[in-house]
């Protein structure tokens, strides 16, 4: 799969699995899980440094920014102003213009506020950010984000952390057919078959956090996800057989007694 690299705004990635770094027991487990996943892209959040307890270790002591592409997100932002503020802070704290843009609409579902998302994306693209927007499985919104200048879109499979899997494969399929930039299915994956299905539908990559970090054995699940994404990608490229209602014999009739 060496020749099957994913390219987003000039950034090249070998792995089509992007992973989050939240919810792990500790940084050592985070590091092991990320290694097992084979991911190139690792998402992080931007938060206040703990100034009262400086003994706390830094995530970047475990996740080498030279080895991984650090993709900061705007998780926890519920309006355009905050999302833009956190994006600028992420750029100031890091080394690149990449931002995973989240503008959330509601705490219970964590569904994107797509109107706010479009507004924030416009501002950030103008400021030179490479905006990867976390959006709903809505093809029209996805197209608007591309028109603004987002080099990829990240539609959800199901609510963040829900583990419900691909809830609307038909909308995702329409997005993949309509949209001419890479599609990264983000959020809602529960297990390996969900990730494989996303890739079989034609997703260019899958991003997940809870499905790995929340598994009973996160490191084993990270490895399972690596293979699921690879298998799904290969199956997509191989071209599956059409679904038919009745059987088609695979052994010849000729030569039977």
């Amino acid at each position: 799969m060496q020749d099957d690299r994913l390219i987003i705004a000039g950034h090249e990635f070998t792995s089509r699995l992007f992973v989050g770094t939240g919810k792990y027991k500790d940084f050592a487990e985070t590091k092991k899980a990320i290694e097992a996943s084979g991911a190139d892209v690792v998402t992080v959040a931007v938060r206040r440094v703990n100034i009262t307890d400086r003994s706390k270790e830094n995530l970047l002591d475990y996740i080498d920014p030279k080895k991984y592409t650090i993709l900061p997100n705007t998780a926890g932002c519920y309006n355009v102003e905050d999302a833009v503020r956190y994006s600028r802070l992420a750029r100031a704290a890091g080394v690149s213009d990449l931002i995973k843009l989240e503008v959330l609409g509601d705490e219970r579902t964590l569904f994107p506020d797509t109107a706010g998302l479009i507004e924030a994306a416009k501002i950030l693209v103008k400021e030179g950010f490479i905006v990867l927007p976390y959006t709903n499985d809505d093809p029209i919104v996805a197209q608007k984000l591309v028109d603004i200048g987002c080099p990829a879109v990240m539609p959800l499979a199901a609510p963040i952390g829900s583990g419900l899997g691909i809830r609307n494969p038909y909308n995702l399929k329409i997005i993949m057919e309509m949209i001419k930039v890479p599609i990264i299915v983000d959020a809602g994956v529960g297990t390996a078959s969900d990730a494989a299905l996303a890739m079989e539908l034609g997703a260019d990559a899958v991003l997940m956090n809870t499905a790995i970090a929340g598994a009973q054995d996160p490191i084993a699940m990270a490895e399972a996800m690596k293979y699921a994404v690879q298998a799904g990608r290969l199956a997509y490229k191989a071209g599956r057989i059409p679904r038919k209602l009745y059987a088609t014999a695979s052994s010849p009739i000729e030569g039977m007694l």
Partner: protein
Amino acid sequence: MENSIQIQVNGEQRSCRADTTIGDLLRELAIQAERVAVELNLEIMDRKDFDDRRLKQGDRVEILSFIGGGAPVSAQAIGRGCTHAG
């Protein structure tokens, strides 16, 4: 003390010398400058200005870095700006 000022760092009151720079503050807190973003009164500071920019009485400093995410961690989120406090 006449030559000390009160500032707010990540929401907490703190006193420091009147001529303290952002760079001094980071060193005092044992924070590596290349791993953080610093916002001074809602204005994001350029890293190369850390050692030149001196703090004033009442300044509000936010020091942020990358943490594990993913999932929203609202308890650790930064305070809202003074333009829309409430």
